[in-house]
């Protein structure tokens, strides 16, 4: 029953979107009714998604999708999140969000009616293409042909709170760029690049970028404690493809800033807007088609891959075609000086584009090589580390001096103060690196990170009068975001370069010492949970005879899917995480791996600051 309702709602919603697409000259309806049809379509697709969730909650195994991905033993929250823990459901969520973005746009936008209509039409067009994809290749409402009493269960590794909200966040980011795309195309078609358009594009791209940031961070945090590999970023294809629209979106958000210097580079903004959404679709294609192998490939159905490739070519082709034909003609001379804000932003944009290209190349290189030479290769972390990081480095350098540059002249404000502080800081950092273990990358990362923070702080103090109000926070917002980045850079540098790894074979009751700390293996416990069995090793951590914390790494066994997952035990500290992974056992001797990850918390704090400042930026007029 729910399947029927869900499918009808979905089809009806797609049909309504078709009605929207009919040109004004044929179907003469008032804007009011146009908007009503548009919003009805959104409500219907949401109803469709809710009916899928309902089928999951009630464990309705007459639905094939529920049967494949759920089990009645699962806790309620994972029944709900199971709805998007699979290919079909997640694509339904995806189109739901495309529609929702249009819905909110129709309420929030203050654009002229004609322009608004065009934007919504393009948005509906995108919606229809993806809706057809769902209906024809990935229908989550298929009915099970035989009667079954129990489902097959959700992949245990996905049964995790942060992974439950990771896909919606990520999708809100990816899909948000569809609205930015629609805005860009509409502006090309209507030749409308006024201030209001810029402001709207900026708001929506900041929102999308913020969600994308949150989504990537959640996924990364999940990988950190769930995979038990000791790290939080592995240059897995799926991580790379989320990074591409993220960087392009970052470039977009920054290009839109040029408006403040009263120069608008419409061409570039429109290009970036189209690029962001294209990269989002390309990412979906690469992951969902199974062409790239990664932990995330659910589906390897060739027809699906082909369909998404088709969607990619239609949308991207359409976008860039319109861009070529109707490209903005207004000549707008950029005030490029040797070193002013405009040129810094332009160079940063170029760097980001090169970084995107590098990642793209590394990600699809294996496919190209396989097609051309029939040999298979894999491109791993070392490639990305030694190409992407050096490319981004000058960008970070520019970022650290960006606040003190001016728009119109080459003059640098309060130049001397910055130079003095920079020299003092470099001296301190050199001293610090010299006294501890010196590492070139570590030194560069630390210097850049601290300099970005210090430079932003000095700017805030020198240029704005402190007042405890929201307005004050709004004015210093961009500096706050940069401080977040600085903190994150320090975290990334330290956790990846100064990570330490210890390996022990221990019996219960034994103790080991490392770095002034004592780790005692107390006990092995076995718990019976609702849908899994859990084995936990209990360690106690002591420092100078003082008890600090229990750390409990373990393994969970899920009988339904006969799978074991590793649960890392982590002691969080502001300065370092102590991260323990439990290995196998032989004659009561347990193999354990201890990672000391310094300053990992800085990464999450940095991300939180960045997200905070995107929220402020959205609130800002």
């Amino acid at each position: 029953m729910t399947s029927l309702i869900g499918f009808s709602a979905l089809s009806l919603s797609a049909l309504l979107s078709f009605v929207i697409l009919i040109p004004n000259s044929i179907l003469k309806i008032k804007v009011k009714y146009f908007l009503i049809i548009c919003r009805c379509s959104t409500l219907l697709v949401c109803a469709s998604f809710i009916s899928l969730i309902y089928a999951y909650i009630t464990s309705d195994f007459s639905n094939y999708n529920v049967f494949q991905n759920s089990h009645s033993d699962k806790p309620l929250i994972y029944k709900i999140t199971g709805a998007w823990g699979n290919h079909e459901g997640s694509i339904l969520l995806w189109i739901c969000m495309i529609s929702i973005y249009g819905f909110f746009y129709s309420f929030l936008s203050k654009a002229l009616e004609n322009f608004k209509r065009t934007v919504l039409k393009i948005q509906s067009g995108i919606f229809i293409i993806f809706a057809l994809f769902v209906i024809f290749t990935s229908n989550p409402f298929l009915v099970n042909s035989v009667y079954v009493e129990e489902g097959l269960g959700l992949n245990p590794i996905l049964q995790d709170p942060s992974l439950a909200i990771h896909p919606p966040m990520l999708y809100l980011g990816y899909v948000g760029f569809s609205l930015v795309f629609s805005l860009a195309i509409a502006s090309l078609l209507k030749d409308n690049f006024d201030q209001a358009w810029i402001l709207e594009t900026r708001k929506w791209s900041i929102i999308s970028w913020g969600f994308l940031t949150a989504g990537i961070a959640l996924g990364s945090y999940w990988a950190y404690y769930e995979l038990g590999w000791g790290g939080w970023w592995f240059w897995d294809p799926v991580e790379n493809i989320s990074l591409m629209p993220w960087i392009a979106g970052l470039a977009l958000v920054h290009s839109l800033l040029l408006v403040r210097g009263e120069q608008v580079i419409e061409k570039w903004i429109v290009f970036l807007a189209i690029l962001c959404f294209s990269l989002s679709i390309l990412g979906t294609f690469l992951v969902r088609s199974g062409i790239l192998t990664s932990v995330h490939s659910f589906a390897a159905d060739a027809s699906r891959g082909l369909f998404i490739l088709l969607i990619f070519f239609i949308t991207t082709g359409f976008g860039f075609l319109v861009f070529l034909i109707k490209s903005p003609t207004k000549k707008n001379d950029l005030q490029l000086l040797l070193i002013n804000k405009t040129s810094a932003l332009i160079i940063n944009n170029i760097l980001m584009m090169i970084a995107v290209l590098t990642i793209l190349l590394g990600t699809i290189y294996p496919i190209i090589i396989e097609v051309l030479t029939n040999t298979r290769i894999s491109v791993g972390g070392p490639y990305f580390n030694s190409t992407v990081l050096p490319i981004l480095l000058p960008g970070f350098l520019l970022m650290s001096i960006a606040p003190i540059l001016s728009w119109q002249t080459n003059r640098i404000r309060k130049f001397r103060i910055y130079v003095i502080f920079f020299l003092i800081l470099s001296l301190l950092i050199s001293l610090q690196s010299y006294l501890t273990s010196f590492n070139t990358w570590g030194f560069i990362g630390l210097l850049l990170g601290t300099w970005i923070i210090l430079g932003s702080l000095i700017s805030i103090i020198l240029r704005f009068k402190f007042s405890p109000s929201l307005n004050y926070i709004k004015t210093i917002n961009s500096f706050v975001a940069h401080i977040g980045v600085g903190i994150m850079i320090i975290g990334i540098t330290y956790s990846s370069i100064f990570q330490k790894e210890y390996i022990y074979n221990m019996k219960i009751g034994e103790e080991v010492n490392f770095e002034n700390q004592k780790l005692k293996f107390n006990d092995i416990k076995i718990f019976e949970e609702k849908n899994f069995q859990s084995l936990k090793a209990v360690f106690s951590l002591e420092k100078k005879g003082r008890f600090i914390n229990y750390i409990e790494p373990g393994k969970n066994y899920y009988p339904v899917s006969k799978m074991i997952t590793t649960e890392a035990g982590i002691h969080h500290d502001w300065l370092r995480d102590i991260y323990i992974v439990l290995g196998s056992e032989n004659n009561n001797l347990w193999f354990i791996k201890v990672y000391i990850n310094p300053l990992v918390s800085f990464i999450w704090v940095g991300v939180l600051i960045m997200i905070f400042s995107t929220i402020i930026a959205v609130l800002k007029k």
Partner: protein, 146 residues
């Protein structure tokens, strides 16, 4: 400095960065890629000894031996040829006999592999597409790939 001259410098600077990035990419694609073989392919090709390779296939039934705690040897097979793998370290949770796996390591002079990493992916039906193709060729593919 005239405006024109400043722009010229900017453009040159950009080109320099672009060039540097390109050379970085080219250098690294040469240096940092790992070739992927099935056991048969590895034996056919002449691989130099100290090159990092990835081998994909099934863990051969009854070949798995735990020499000591966390030191293992096992065979990877594509049902035509086997390769003996030595590995010490933590095995992934899903690693077991009869399952698909990928190991990364170096070839030693007896044509065995000393593995540095062992991967078994998260889904038990999981198999990298590239191995799947190879296994289909020798009719080894029974499981439906979801």
């Amino acid at each position: 400095m005239s405006l024109r001259f400043q722009r010229l410098i900017l453009i040159l600077l950009t080109l320099t960065i672009l060039g540097a990035a390109l050379s970085l990419i080219l250098l690294n694609t040469k240096k940092n890629i790992v070739f992927f073989y099935t056991p048969s392919e590895l034996l056919e090709n002449n691989i130099s000894l100290n090159k990092k390779v990835r081998i994909g296939g099934y863990v051969k039934k009854t070949s798995f031996i735990e020499q000591s705690l966390n030191s293992y040897e096992f065979k990877i097979t594509d049902n035509d040829n086997d390769l003996l793998i030595f590995y010490s370290g933590m095995l992934p949770d899903l690693f077991r006999e009869g399952q698909g796996t990928v190991v990364e390591g170096y070839l030693d002079k007896n044509k065995n592999i000393v593995a540095t990493k062992v991967y078994a992916k998260h889904d038990e039906n999981y198999m990298p597409a590239s191995i799947k193709k190879e296994l289909e060729k020798n009719n080894q593919w029974k499981k439906k790939y979801k």
